[in-house]
């Protein structure tokens, strides 16, 4: 068995005092594209934000490329509700080091930086990669993937359509030279045409061999892009399906409901 690229072990977390997800186990292998499907509001995005270091995990480990990203151990329970723990305690996971390791999270419905132009955003995006090789090649690749962005290079982000914004987000993510790209609902609120265009681009990214972790609400769309699917429900992963058993919408609904009984 090959070494897994991303390994999440017994991860739980949330916004204290509310626990959002618990005991999540997930692994992702090099070259693989994995999907995560589950109802809205059940903690997928919180889980991803924890991976990216925006929220502190409570318990469990995140291993990326064999290296642990979080501080070991359990988050201590707070003795006092009001004491300002932020000044005593180190963040349990640092977003900057997560990005440096090459785990890039493209946020859901990302507004990015509304007052900056496309070019400005793409200019600052690689700074996290710290001069890793291949950036210039990546820039060429991005122009090939998203020809639209070249046309709109001098528009401010807030004048872009939702799909174009998503493209900028993904392009910025790629410029950080990821070893794993997480796409959180890339087609949220997009027109069918735009969805197809974006889907083709994601497919092209997948074919370069870059590992992907994709979250989406549209099962058919999602299944066309991935090798393996995790079902996520009520704050934990309930099922794992491989490429031979990709479900359609009906099946997935019954699968999700069955998992309760």
């Amino acid at each position: 068995m090959t070494e897994s690229l991303l390994e999440i072990r017994h991860l739980s977390g949330g916004y204290p005092p509310v626990q959002v997800f618990r005991n999540v186990n997930l692994s992702l292998f090099p070259g693989e594209s994995v999907g995560l499907f589950g109802p809205n509001g059940h903690g997928k995005t919180s889980l991803m934000k924890t991976l990216a270091g925006l929220i502190d995990p409570w318990d469990g480990d995140i291993l990326f490329g064999g290296k642990r990203l979080n501080l070991p151990g359990k988050m201590k329970t707070r003795l006092s509700q009001h004491l300002n723990y932020d000044i005593f305690r180190r963040r349990r996971i640092d977003p900057a080091s997560v990005v440096r390791e090459g785990l890039i999270y493209v946020m859901q419905g990302n507004l990015l930086f509304p007052e900056m132009t496309v070019d400005e955003v793409l200019a600052i995006a690689p700074s996290a990669a710290g001069g890793r090789p291949g950036i210039q090649q990546m820039q060429k690749q991005i122009h090939a993937l998203f020809p639209r962005l070249k046309e709109r290079r001098n528009s401010k982000i807030r004048f872009l359509s939702g799909g174009e914004r998503q493209m900028v987000s993904i392009a910025a993510g790629l410029l950080a030279m990821p070893r794993l790209l997480i796409l959180d609902e890339p087609t949220l609120g997009l027109s069918p045409k735009m969805r197809l265009e974006l889907g083709a681009a994601i497919q092209a990214i997948r074919e370069t061999g870059l590992p992907l972790l994709i979250i989406d609400q549209n099962v058919e769309f999602l299944c066309s892009l991935i090798d393996r699917l995790y079902l996520f429900d009520h704050g934990t992963i309930t099922r794992e399906l491989d490429s031979n058993h990709m479900p359609d919408h009906e099946q997935i609904m019954s699968l999700m409901f069955e998992s309760h009984a």
Binding site: A52, G53, L54, N84, D86, I87, P95, A96, V99, R100, I104, Y105, V106, M107, N110, L111, L112, F113, P114, E115, M116, E120, V121, A123, I124, A125, S127, A128, A172, A176
Partner: protein
């Protein structure tokens, strides 16, 4: 009224406006970037002036002024950078950050003011101006110090605009201002960028202090006035764009210059405040824009 008088008023208004712009820009950049209102900004101006006085008076003359112009901003940059970690960062994730930082910056202002009094005493001081005499131009004569102030002010504002717009760090600062989470996901150390913002704001305040100190007398409590002036400017212009407080500063400077001439020194502040209230009633988000927090 003669044209000559009008020109003199105009120039003095512009010089004043430039100084106000220099004071207000720091306040507005901090507000748009971090979302807190720095009540210690006025004491940054005062502290900058005192440090510049200390340096320039020990050396004397134009070289002293020049050295002060280097030392004061650098010192204030470091103080501002450090103060971010003490006053604002602890509430990074607290929803009440605006209110909490108001009280911490107010308290810090009171500490800095007391420190100035401890170190330099309550007596008034003045920084020796580097240039003296007047410049003759088209039959009019202007104070050389005023012209120097104006030119340097414009240069600093332009440099700051260039820094934010073109440099990598400046762009990262703007990114952090516009979307904190997205900036973190790009791998920027947002806390460092925020601290940098306050540091830069403090450095511009120090330069403003240097020039004010060479025109007027300074005393430990003189920070209150610049704070109030910057406040008026920010209310007048809003913070929608980098240039809006700058434009507003020149307008405020001109209004002040004219109202001093026409209505006298006593009434000028009241007129300014009254006009400001009118602006607020008609256009609460400021003359030039929207309540959006951008940079």
């Amino acid at each position: 009224m003669e044209l000559e008088t009008l020109l003199y008023i105009l120039v003095s208004g512009l010089v004043l406006g430039g100084l106000y712009a220099l004071m207000a820009i720091g306040l507005s950049v901090v507000w748009t970037t971090i979302g807190v209102f720095n009540f210690a900004h006025g004491t940054f101006v005062a502290l900058g002036a005192y440090i510049a006085w200390q340096v320039s008076s020990s050396l004397g003359g134009a070289p002293g002024f020049l050295l002060g112009a280097v030392v004061a901003p650098v010192a204030l940059f470091m103080i501002g950078y450090a103060l971010h970690y003490a006053l604002v960062k602890p509430f990074e994730r607290n929803p009440n950050i605006v209110l909490l930082s108001v009280i911490t910056t107010l308290a810090a202002a009171s500490i800095i003011e007391s420190m100035i009094q401890l170190i330099w005493g309550p007596r008034e001081k003045q920084i020796e101006a580097p240039v003296n005499g007047n410049l003759e131009f088209a039959g009019l004569s202007f104070s050389a110090q005023d012209i120097l102030t104006f030119v340097v002010t414009l240069f600093i504002l332009a440099a700051l605009a260039w820094f934010l717009k073109r440099s990598r760090t400046g762009r990262a600062m703007r990114a952090a201002a516009q979307n904190r989470e997205a900036a973190q996901l790009m791998g920027f150390n947002v806390t460092h960028l925020y601290a940098l913002t306050i540091g830069i704001a403090a450095a511009t305040a120090a330069i403003a202090g240097l020039f004010i100190g060479s025109i007027r007398f300074i005393n430990p409590t003189f920070g209150v006035d610049p704070l109030m002036k910057s406040l008026i400017v920010v209310i007048f212009g809003g913070v929608a764009h980098f240039t809006s407080p700058i434009l507003a500063a020149f307008i405020v400077g001109l209004i002040e210059a004219f109202s001093v001439y026409f209505f006298g020194l006593y009434w000028a502040p009241s007129i300014l405040f009254g006009l400001m209230i009118i602006v607020l009633l008609i256009k609460p988000e400021g003359l030039f824009g929207f309540q959006r927090k951008t940079l």
